[in-house]
Structures are given as C-alpha cells and as structure tokens.
Amino acid sequence: MSEKLLEVKNLRTEFHTDKGKLVAVNDVSFYVGKEEIVGLVGESGSGKSVTSLSVLRLLPEQGNISAGEVLLEGKDLLKMNKKDIRNIRGGDIAMIFQDPMSSLNPVLRVGEQIMECTKLHLKYNNSQARKHAIDMIKRVGIPVPEDVMNRYPHQLSGGMSQRIMIAMAMSCNPKVLIADEPTTALDVTIQAQVMELMLELKEKNKIGILLITHDLGVVAEMCNRVMVMYCGRIVEMADVFSLFKNPLHPYTKGLIASVPKIGKNADVLPYIAGRVPDLSQMPKGCKFAPRCSEAMEKCYKEEPKLTNIDGNRQCRCHLIRERSEINE
C-alpha cells in the first residue's frame, strides 16, 4: 500500500438552514496515497463537493465540520488556525474547480493570477514569479506563454482556461490535488487532453489526486481506487478493477448499468428509479432503500454499517453482511 498523504477520518459536515440542521457528509473516512488517483463518485447532491471543500475548510458560512479529522501527513487541518490553513491552501493542497471559465477572475490578467500563488506561498518576487508562471504555462502545453500571460480570461477558450487553472494549482508543487469535476464543463476532446495532463503531472510530481466526478468513464480511465457516495455516506469503496468487474452495492450496480453503451440499442436507457432524497427528509434505515430493487424489510429499519470485505473493499449494505455471514 502506498504512503498515506491525505487522510480523512470520520468526517461529518453539517449545514444550518431554515429547515434545521442538515448533515451533508456523514462519517466519511478515506485516504489518498502518493502517486495515486482516488475517485469520488456519486449523483448530484451526494456530498462529493462538500467533502472536498471540508478538507480545505472552504465551506460557506452556514456549513461547519462537527466531527472528524483531516490529516495531511499526520497534521490535522481542522485544528489549524486561520493563517496556517491559508498556507496549506494552494501550498500543500491545491484545488481545481468544475467550471474553468468562471474560476478565473475576469478583471485580472491570467499571468497575474498564476503569479499570485507563488508570490503568496513561495515568497517569490515579481520577476521570479513571472518566470515560474511562464514555465508552468509551457508545461501545461500552451504555446506562446508570454502572450497568454497578458490575456484576460474571456480571451481564452475553455480548454485553455482549465489548463491555466491546472498550471495555477500546480505552481506551488502541491502534495495533493483536489479536482472537483475538472472536465465536466469541457467538450470530449479537451476532456481527454486535460485528463492526460493530470496523469502526466501525477507521475512527474508524485502527487496524490482526489478526483471528484460523476463520469464513470473518467473513473475507469484514471483512478486507482474509487469511492461511491450516496446521501453524504460512502456506500462502497474498492480498487477500480474490482468495482467495475464486480460491484457489490446495488447503487453502484445501478450507476454502472445506467452508463449508455455504444453498440447496444436500447429504447430506454437504464436508470435508477426515484431520486436522491432531500437532506431534510432522509429515510430511516438504509438511505438507498426506497430506490433499491433488492431492498428487504430490514433495510427500511436499520442503517447498514460500512463493512470490510476481503480486506481491501468496503460496502454499506445489509445484503453483503448476510451473504458474508452465510459464508462463515
């Protein structure tokens, strides 16, 4: 097993709203190792992004982390003071967001924005930062970096903006990169280029990447391990081969089944019936039970625990428990 770079233990994030206290992330634990890409998959509203924001404590005002630990090489980020966490952000842990076009400040030149990071964290002066920024832009495969430095974000294409975002994120040599749906807003050919770039950076810089996505194709292509989230809980965790070959949780099965397949003619695409329940109206018992085709009476009464299987997999389902009990 690779060295644990970032470890999240029993994270619980709550939001205080008019409807009362809502638990967006409940008892989530995982780790990201060196030179490893960990996928975090789930439908919209399953708590993927909140998990990633919690790691860097970037939650909006209403949100707060009520329990758990976020360890970066053993140091707990949740216990740090404001100044120290600011040094981690962009320094040791960098983040890439979903929509590159709106992640760049429209009134500042691209170069200035890339330089900001190294000036803040590595205390570079103007000319050092400039040189480094040009170097970074070259590395993410954009020709004529000097020209791009002087442009405003609206003068770049989507793919170029995401490359710039990656250049920005990588400019302080982070140990961990959190990529929150980095390719969702891009078209397919650009997606492939960006993914390629991320793989390359992983190899070269030996970083760990937490890749948040709802695109299973991307997961299959990129990740070493995958976590599936549903309603703020991890329902299944496995290495990428086992997950696609033999999904255990009914939700994972449903997700994989609902990917359209080229060559197969289907009148109706397979899908998971129902929708993600509202955070304020969570069902008792297993949160997936109302949509699950294999739900039993027990599922509506008691929430299953995350169970270890074969030492390297985890699954949160009563069925798995029963089967393994029978096996014993």
Partner: protein
Amino acid sequence: MEEVKMQEAKYEDFKIENPMKEFARKFLKKKSAVVSLGFIFFLVILAIFQPAPYDIDETDYDNILSEPNSEHLFGTDEYGRDVLSRIITGTRLSLSVAVTAVTIGAFLGSILGIIAGYYGGLLESLIMRFCDILFSFPGLLLAIGIVAIIGPGLTNVVIAISIYGIPTFTRVIRSSTLSIKELLYIEASRSIGVSDTRLLVKHIFPGTLPALIVTYTMRMGTAIISAASLSFLGFGASPTNPDWGAMLSTGRDYIGVAPHMLLYPGLMIFFTVLAFNLLGDGLRDTLDPKLD
C-alpha cells in the same frame, strides 16, 4: 469511405481585442453619451482656463440689467457685471464642489459597502441601518439639516453633499460585493490561500468598478443640483461668489425686468446635470456585459 480529419482549433483563432478599444468601440455608438462627454470636457476646459471676457467683479453702471447684446452676450446683472463671465468663472466652483463632494462620498461609501457586503453579520446590519437612516430623509432636507448644524459656507456644503452621497454608494457597492463574493473565482482565490484583505482589494473591488463608475457619474449631476440648491437657499456660496445657484438666487428678484439673469445660469445647471446623467446612462450600457 471518405476520411474525416479533425482539426484542432488553431491558437491564432482566438482573436484578442484590447479591452480599452472594445470599450471605446461600444461607447462611441452611444451618440448622446458621446455628446455629453464632449460637453463635460468643454466645461472642464472652461473651469481650467477660465476664458472669461470680463473680470467677474468689473461693474459697468451704464449697462445695468441690460439685455443680451453684442457687448455682453448673456447680458448684465444688477451691478452691470457680465453674466457670461460669471457663468464661465462659476464652472470651476460648481465642478470642484461636485467632484470633491462625490469623491469623498464615493470613497467612504465604497469602503462601508464592501465591508458590509463581504463580512455580513452584525457589521452589515449596523452599516445598512445607518444608511437607511440617512435615506429616510428627503435628499436635500438632509443636506440642509447638516448645513444647519455645521453652519453655511462652501466647505460645509461639500461636507453635507458628501454625507448624503454615502448611502447610495454603500448600497450599490454592497450589492455588487454580495454577488461577486459568491462567484467561483473568489472561491478559487480562497482555495489558493489568499487572505481576506487581499481578496477584498485585489479581487472583489475591481469587480465593483463598473457599478462605481456609473454611480459616480450619476451622482455628479445630483451633487451639482444640490450645491446649486443650497446656494440658492443661501446656505452655500455667498452672493458675491460667481456660483450658478447664487446667481439664480439674486436673479429671482429681477425676474420681471431681466429674465436673462435667471435663464442662463439655469440653462447651465440644466445642461450640465443632463450631460452627467446621459453620460452615466451611456457608461452603464457600455460597462454592463449583460446588455451586449
């Protein structure tokens, strides 16, 4: 089978236009705004060089209250002073009062607005309630009240107009800040560890500039009217000063015999305020990307 080749977008395909040129191109399409800008530019020239044909205190007792003629284009007043010269000289007074007052108001109002918008909470409530209190007075009444407290005089007029400009700027900048701070690029900046102060100054403030510029221009018109009104009511410039409002005030007594004493300063105020408002409109149309 025909072979299909895919072509990647060439780098040169992304044409860049200089933002200033882009702005100029859009702005030049707004005819009324361009004319207004020209007029304001003309006023500024008048204010700086003061090309008055006569000295403002030069009296011509042979020509008291004379109608506009070739010697005195705008006529003369009750002491035989040239109205045109007094108007030209008064430009400096009116513009400098307005610029100073609006700048002070914009400066203080922006600081309050950006703080209220960014930090929120109790601080925001306090600032916004303070603005509500200022807003609850009818505009000019507030200025009169302030002058009544601190005494008449041009400096005090400036202070009064600045105070009553503060809440407008606070509200505009606060609402800009509120919408900008929710944007992804602010979150992205926070994710690379940018501190609050730097975020405010470097990332949020430039975003509020379009709103600030438009409000500033619009307030110029209001400030000129307010200053003239206060002078007209006798709170501002003394009647010896060549202030447009003060000229209206003295002209009032001679409205039957010498209407030109009211007409020309009045027209001057009218056109100046109109120009600032039209310019503000034009700037808003140009600076707001949503109106493209």
